[in-house]
């Protein structure tokens, strides 16, 4: 579904992503793992076409539709959840005839009620769910979720993880960018660990590892330090 070969990006001669290669298969939940400043968000921005890459290739299925949920979603605070989705549906040129039914379906999928509550009164968890809902508009084949559980309490995180699990069961391909390893271990099939823009290693859930993801992560990241 997605293949990145030798991705490179620098800002003011500082290398942020260096020769990064990985592939994501259809229907899997793939994780980008790394500490803050590892180059995860830059890689995601390159995949989304938000910034230009300095080198390498990004190969995707033809006419692929990508949905994106940002880390800190901002929506006009005076709008309701329904109106936010309607706003993005209009920008996305989703036909008026099935716009309303799709919005109601997505609100139901993410567990938000279609009521008069304004976004300004939403909790962080509700905002993340709304961000997820907007990323699902137009039924994208690939979903990219940037830190979907960041800043949420235990219950909020659980709700998002369950929601991602639900999306996975519908066959969506999902890329998650996160540094919350517990969450990744629960929902992802595979992932790569990066530091300073360099890939340190790969993690597979199916490997029946003796070590937890956290142990693998610390080992790899510390190894680079030493």
């Amino acid at each position: 579904m997605l293949e990145c070969i030798g991705l490179k990006k620098s800002y003011n001669e500082k290398i942020v992503v260096n020769d990064l290669s990985f592939s994501v298969n259809k229907g899997e939940v793939f994780a980008f793992l790394g500490s803050n400043g590892a180059g995860k968000t830059t890689t995601i921005k390159m995949i989304l076409g938000l910034i230009k890459k300095d080198g390498g290739k990004i190969i995707t299925d033809e006419n692929i539709h990508i949905g994106y949920s940002p880390e800190t979603p901002y929506f006009p605070p005076f709008l309701t959840g329904y109106e936010v989705l309607d706003y993005y549906a209009q920008i996305q040129k989703i036909p008026k005839s099935n716009r309303s039914s799709e919005i109601l379906r997505l609100l139901d999928t993410v567990g938000l009620e279609n009521n008069k509550t304004r976004v300004r009164n939403y909790s962080k968890g509700m905002l993340q769910r709304l961000a997820l809902a907007q990323s699902l508009l137009g039924d994208p084949e690939l979903l990219i979720l940037d830190e979907p559980t960041a800043g949420l309490d235990a219950l909020g995180r659980l709700e998002i993880i369950q929601l991602i699990g639900k999306l996975k069961s519908t066959g969506k391909t999902i890329i998650i960018n996160s540094h919350i390893l517990n969450d990744i271990e629960r929902i992802c099939d595979r992932g790569i660990i990066i530091k300073n823009g360099v890939q340190l290693g790969e993690w597979h859930k199916s490997d029946n590892n003796e070590k937890s993801l956290e142990e693998i992560f610390i080992e790899l990241v510390r190894g680079i330090k030493e």
Binding site: L48, Y68, Y74, P76, P77, F78, Y87, Y88, Q92, Q134
Partner: protein, 251 residues
Amino acid sequence: MTIAVTTFKEKLRRKEIYIVSAVGILILLIFGTGSGTLSVDGVAVTDYKVLALILLTVMNAVVCLLSVIMSLSTIPNEYKRKTSHLIWIRKVPQSRYHGELALANIFSGLASEAILFAAVIIFIIKNGRAEELWRLIPAYLIIGVNVSAVCLLTSALSIILPKIAVGAISTVAALAGIFHGLLYSLKDIIGGIGGQLIKYVLKLVPDLHGIQSQAGNLLSGKDVDIHVILTGLLAVYIFSVMIILFKRKEA
């Protein structure tokens, strides 16, 4: 138009609109209710035509400067809040996105102008000229050219320059346009490098004073010079092209 309308609605819910209302009330106090008296060299100004011209001059200055303030952050804020990411992934071109945000700025400027025009309505009625109220519609549209020009220039500059630079350049440009006539006379009096500098500045900025004067002429029943308004519309066109041409990189 979805982005423009939603951004405009959001702006209506912010404090700028209350500032505009407060300024409008202040102008009402000076010109409309008679609780304030305007005097030049100690002589009270009572002539309707002179008062109408002064009222429009003050209004034009206030609304142009407010347009700078209201247009300053609209585009940079979208990038700062990363709302732009959700637009780019939907394949909306930068020119359309920036254009719609600039349009939201124009809507806000025109809304402010409409609030301030309440002062003119009261002024006209108080002076027993209610039958001339219809003239307010074309006068509103003429000053709207100024508002649009200032909003578009500020929006265009905000795509490529930092906020402080945009604020400074747009304010200087707006003031130079508002005091175009005065500066034109001043350049001959000063002469030298200063005079040359003023000459070049005046060539670069639209004659906002001249355009507003046409609205004044219209209100007081004088002839309107359509060419002056056309130069304002030319400035609107040029600033619109700047918005299409100027690009901004994502951080």
